[in-house]
Symmetry: C2
Subunit: 185 residues, 2 copies
């Protein structure tokens, strides 16, 4: 049984999609997702806008679930010690919202296994699944880079492009046959 630290934003929660959706709704401009590739997060939006959207009440509560994450995290948690580790502290409003979001979408994760932090340098685990170099570079266990538009240039890590690839990496049952992962947990 391994200890696995899993990031929320852009890993369990599709933050990028939500940012594009909210921006389109509130600013009336649709941004082509490919414009987000290979550049720092938020920099495809006008100066300060991404930070403003992220800081607004309700943003983190409404993020859609990343495709496949519920089934695979559930299956992982049945076989391993899974911790959700989110750098929530930069956005204080997100603390309550992320807690409620996890209760709704990942009710099988115990409160004991949730960590809201700032820097992740204090986290000790066997694996960390994250989309940020800054979190993975100081991690002493095995880092797994979850693909996000901003991290496409990174080549230093084992990359997982989807939750299906996470399931395959950890050799979860029923993955290769295509059967529902729900049956594993």
């Amino acid at each position: 049984m391994a200890k696995i630290a899993i990031d929320m934003d852009n890993v369990m929660a599709d933050l990028t999609q939500h940012l594009l959706d909210v921006y389109a709704r509130e600013y009336g401009e649709v941004i082509d997702p490919v414009r987000l590739n290979n550049i720092p997060e938020g920099s495809a939006f006008p100066e300060g806008v991404a930070m403003k959207i992220l800081s607004a009440p309700g943003f983190f509560r409404g993020i859609p679930v990343m495709a496949g994450s519920q089934e695979v995290v559930k299956a992982l948690a049945a076989q391993h010690e899974v911790f959700v580790v989110s750098a929530a502290m930069e956005f204080p409003l997100s603390l309550a919202e992320k807690h409620a979001w996890l209760e709704e979408h990942f009710p099988f994760i115990s409160w004991k296994n949730i960590v809201f932090c700032g820097s992740k340098t204090i986290v000790e685990a066997d694996y960390m699944i994250d989309d940020h170099d800054k979190n993975l570079s100081t991690f002493k266990g095995t880092p797994l880079l979850f693909t996000a538009p901003h991290n496409l240039p990174l080549q230093d890590y084992t990359r997982v492009n989807s939750w299906e690839e996470v399931a395959a990496y950890f050799e979860l049952n029923a993955v290769e046959s295509g059967a529902s992962l729900q049956t594993v947990a």
Copy 2:
């Protein structure tokens, strides 16, 4: 420079005193603090009452600061890497309240150095200052038991009875002379 994980409740925040005060105010009964000695937290109160008080909105926001903690944590943070690590996840309302409490009373602690978690088994540091055996017993660094009524029977740890003793343990400047620790930071 050492990495030091510091607990909030009963270490930086005088939770025990606040619990006694709120109980006296809301239930009209003054409990002698010595009745809390050597027994599990909350068990000196009628069944379920301590949990009810802790779960009420505002409880964690109003806890008084533990004597000496501000000065010594500030001095520690000037010389070491200090992380505030609180098991806040059991009481979801406490997330926002603890964040606001830290901003008010410990404004020199960066959001990057705050961790709200459930289980502390995921925390990696050189030292952990905590009042709970359950947090210290699995810690791989050096545990320091901060004295609280419920932990008086514990004999397995290096014990610190006050923030003055924490300052002495880490050999902070200006401690032994009795000069203000404020000047160190």
